[in-house]
């Protein structure tokens, strides 16, 4: 399973970078989201895969008796997902506004200062 996940991580990174290099702003956001997913999976995988043992203490127990999934990567990813959402939503609104004003989502047409428009 790890091998399959590694392939997916590689694909997400490759696809994310490819989309990041496009001229369309819409595709850049897609690229960002793909990269974000890839990075999250990467961290998750490095915390090792554990099946069926979430880091939650059973009722009554004070410490873990058996193995449990590493909680630290999970906490980090959780933060990343939420922050990623903030970034994505802002970017989505931003390109919408730009599109409304300039009627294009081609980055190369934004390559000028305010005065020249």
């Amino acid at each position: 399973m790890e091998i399959l996940l590694i392939i997916i991580i590689g694909l997400l990174h490759a696809g994310g970078l490819y989309m990041l290099l496009r001229r369309s702003m819409f595709k850049i956001i897609i690229g960002l989201i793909l990269l974000g997913n890839g990075a999250n999976l990467l961290i998750f995988l490095l915390g090792r895969l554990v099946k069926g043992h979430p880091p939650v203490l059973p009722d009554g127990a004070k410490i873990f008796a058996e193995i449990y999934a590493d909680p630290l990567p999970q906490a980090v990813i959780l933060t990343a997902i939420v922050i990623g959402f903030g970034l994505q939503s802002f970017a989505i609104i931003l390109i919408k506004t730009v599109f409304k004003v300039l009627e294009t989502d081609d980055l190369d047409e934004l390559n000028s200062t305010d005065e020249e428009i």
Partner: protein, 768 residues
């Protein structure tokens, strides 16, 4: 003593505040400063004899060995007297020369600052302190050259001068630091004791090389000389003061000062004689092709500085004596000639040596001053210039196998300087007065007294060399040469070779003066050689450099975000690929790999397909949906592998993102392909390599056991300390609570941004 050195800075700082109240009288108030200082230094004359010196110490940064130590010996008092003496005359002269100028107060501020810096250079015993003052002279010179700041040529000249002398100063600093580390002290007096250690050390060549660059840039030696003619854009008092009498001699001072410390070695003498000889002959020839009086004087000054370097390079007692007298003689006649040029310029509005003539009819005292100064420059008997020339000739004649060639060089230079001096000091005053200058008249005495005074001094010292001999030149000579030989200055040296050469110089010089007129035509002839002059080469180098910098910057900083990303990632990819290629073995430990269930295979397949659809779909909506599927598949992975919190968060966030996308971008047109096929293939290849590398990297990291100490701490204490059962939650809201608060703030900011962008009502801009 410290007050004497720093008073100029204090004055300069006060001038702007008081100038409003004493607009008219301030020049005269300020003139008191150099005059008082001059008297102050005169009072030390009889205390310094035969190489003795006075020290004045003030603590500054003792922990670094940097102190305000001032050493007053023959050499420094000669310079201090020149700085304050000529300074007094220039201060007085400026009062009238720039009368009514809007920024006169500013000018006096710069002048005082310069005078103080220059005093600091020649008096400092601590080399680091000297360097600080050295750079201050460059800076104040920058302001003075660029005084007419609305003139572009002025600004450019100021920048050139600052560039060359400032750079030279930095090189000098390097030399001083090496010197101090070899000699283990910044104090010149202390270093003098370890002279032999320094000369035999392995870094001796570095030290003298670096010190030479510092001295040559300051004293306008070939090939750094070209800033000096440019610096003539400054008002004439500045040219007089900085660029002939004092600042350009700072390099000479440095070489003379270091002669007992570093001198008398093969490289020291050889380099100085070579550079000095090239400079003196090159500049002397150049001066004959100029028409602008100030240009003629600028080149003859460079030539005179070359002579001084040449004499210090020869390094015999006679040569050093010659240098000591010539420093003074040159300052007296050249300052006079500059001041006279200033008067001519002021009264006639012209500095064209080919046109000016007959001015003695209207300004007799100036003509007398010019006449005497030109004669002293030529080295006519009864003038101090004659004595210095005799000593020089005697010095070169003593040199054995090198005598002939060096004597020819110095005689030739002297002949050319004879002509240049006559052009500047005599030609404008003789012959018939042209019509265009009829209206010129004798200016205020403040203008003509200073040059006349200097010229008279040339005569007095020339006729009675004994006046100088005991009181000044003896101690100057002793401090340069470090020897106790008693010198003997005489007007009459008997019939010897030197006298013959003197007569030859005068006769040939006069013949050239008689037959060669300064003319625009001759000046034009030099223009074709401009291409290969050091100035043009430096400028070309600068242009190429700035073109290259521009090209380099535009190439990398081209404003396209994706090019930055490509540059950074391509470099990173290359580095990683190289590392993996040369030394990483890919090894998979199949025992650690968990088994795959059919449901997982379905999710993986789904995810791969969705990734491709999200990337390549033509329709935005399809892309968004595919992206949603990627997110949900991710969510399932979290669920499979014991991360219910992540699964929940990912699920809700993913849903929100898809919804937002759909609502906002619903009306956008279809995806367009902007880039060409080649670029897409290039990006695709780079991305695939990047993705592969990331995958390999993960595989590699996976091989190493992970450390779980921190996680274990959190898990063990989750209930015990934080009274919670969900460890992930505990980490977020308890252990790392402040992080989470900041994260919330970030989200709030993003929300405010989103809200305000939605409210922002912008009209579409129509492009034409």
């Amino acid at each position: 003593m410290i007050l004497a050195v720093l008073s100029g800075f204090i004055f300069a700082a006060l001038v702007p505040f008081f100038s409003k109240f004493f607009k008219r009288t301030i020049p005269f108030v300020l003139c008191a400063l150099p005059i008082l200082l001059f008297i102050y230094f005169i009072s030390f004359l009889n205390q310094i004899e035969l190489g003795s010196y006075l020290m004045f110490s003030y603590s500054w940064v003792p922990s670094l060995g940097i102190d305000l130590d001032f050493r007053l010996d023959g050499l420094s008092i000669l310079f201090a007297l020149m700085i304050t003496g000529i300074g007094s005359l220039v201060f007085l002269y400026t009062a009238n020369y720039l009368k009514g100028h809007q920024y006169l107060d500013r000018f006096y501020g710069y002048l005082s600052m310069f005078m103080a810096s220059m005093l600091g250079v020649v008096l400092s015993d601590n080399l680091m302190t000297m360097f600080v003052f050295w750079e201050l002279t460059s800076i104040s010179s920058f302001f003075l050259i660029g005084f007419n700041n609305e003139d572009a040529a002025s600004r450019k000249s100021a920048l050139t001068a600052l560039g060359i002398t400032g750079l030279g100063g930095l090189v000098l600093l390097a030399g001083i630091v090496i010197l101090a580390s070899v000699g283990n002290s910044y104090s010149f007096t202390e270093l003098l004791g370890s002279s032999d250690v320094i000369k035999s050390s392995s870094s001796y060549h570095w030290i003298i090389g670096l010190v030479f660059v510092g001295a040559f840039t300051k004293s306008a030696q070939f090939p750094f000389h070209f800033w000096l003619p440019g610096a003539m854009k400054a008002p004439t008092p500045v040219s007089t003061y900085l660029h002939s009498a004092t600042m350009v001699k700072a390099g000479i001072y440095l070489l003379a000062r270091f002669t007992p410390l570093l001198g008398d070695t093969y490289w020291w003498n050889g380099t100085l004689v070579t550079i000095g000889a090239i400079t003196m002959i090159y500049a002397a020839i150049h001066s004959l092709f100029r028409v602008d009086l100030k240009s003629i004087l600028a080149y003859s000054t460079i030539s005179a500085l070359g002579i001084l370097v040449f004499l210090i390079g020869i390094g015999t007692e006679k040569a050093l004596l010659g240098a000591a007298i010539f420093i003074l003689a040159h300052a007296l006649y050249k300052a006079a000639l500059f001041l006279i040029t200033g008067i001519i310029d002021h009264e006639t509005g012209s500095r064209d040596a080919s046109k000016l003539a007959g001015l003695q009819k209207v300004m007799m005292p100036v003509a007398i001053a010019g006449f005497i100064a030109a004669l002293s420059s030529a080295g006519v008997p009864l003038l101090i210039g004659f004595i210095s020339k005799e000593v020089m000739y005697e010095a070169t004649l003593q040199l054995g196998q090198w005598a002939i060639i060096l004597t020819i060089l110095i005689v030739l230079t002297k002949i050319f300087l004879f002509v240049a001096g006559f052009w500047a000091g005599i030609k404008p005053f003789t012959g018939p007065l042209p019509k265009e200058f009829q209206k010129a008249h004798l200016p205020s005495a403040l203008l003509w007294v200073p040059p006349l005074l200097l010229s008279v001094l040339s005569v007095v010292f020339g006729v009675f060399p004994g006046l100088l001999e005991k009181s000044l030149i003896q101690s100057v000579f002793s401090s340069i040469s470090g020897s106790a030989t008693i010198i003997d200055l005489k007007l009459w040296h008997g019939f010897n070779t030197a006298l013959m050469l003197s007569i030859l110089t005068l006769v040939v010089g006069f013949a050239i003066y008689w037959f060669l007129q300064p003319s625009e035509k001759n000046f034009q002839k030099t223009i074709r050689f401009e291409r290969i002059s050091p100035e043009a080469l430096t400028r070309d180098f600068g242009n190429i450099f700035s073109w290259f910098a521009g090209f380099w910057t535009r190439f990398f900083q081209n404003g396209y975000l994706r090019n930055y990303v490509i540059t950074i990632l391509a470099f990173l990819t290359f580095l990683m690929a190289y590392r993996i290629f040369i030394g990483v073995k890919i090894h998979i430990d199949w025992d650690q790999i968990s088994t795959v269930t059919p449901s997982e295979i379905i999710v993986v397949t789904l995810m791969i397909i969705s990734i491709f659809i999200a990337i390549f779909s033509k329709s935005r909506t399809t892309s968004i949906v595919a992206l949603g599927v990627v997110g949900f598949a991710n969510c399932l992975f979290f669920l499979f592998y014991s991360a219910p919190d992540l699964a929940m968060t990912q699920f809700s966030i993913d849903t929100l993102t898809v919804l937002l996308f759909m609502l906002i971008l619903f009306r956008l047109p279809k995806n367009k392909t902007y880039s060409s096929k080649t670029i897409r293939i290039r990006d695709g290849v780079l991305s695939l390599i990047f993705g592969t590398l990331v995958a390999i990297l993960v595989l590699e990291v996976f091989e190493y056991p992970s450390s779980t100490d921190i996680s274990k701490f959190y898990a063990d204490n989750a209930y015990v300390l934080a009274k919670g059962r969900n460890v992930v939650n505990i980490i977020l809201v308890d252990y790392r609570a402040s992080d989470t608060i900041v994260e919330t703030v970030v989200l709030v900011i993003a929300a405010i941004g989103v809200y305000s962008l939605m409210k922002l009502d912008l009209n579409p801009i129509k492009k034409n």
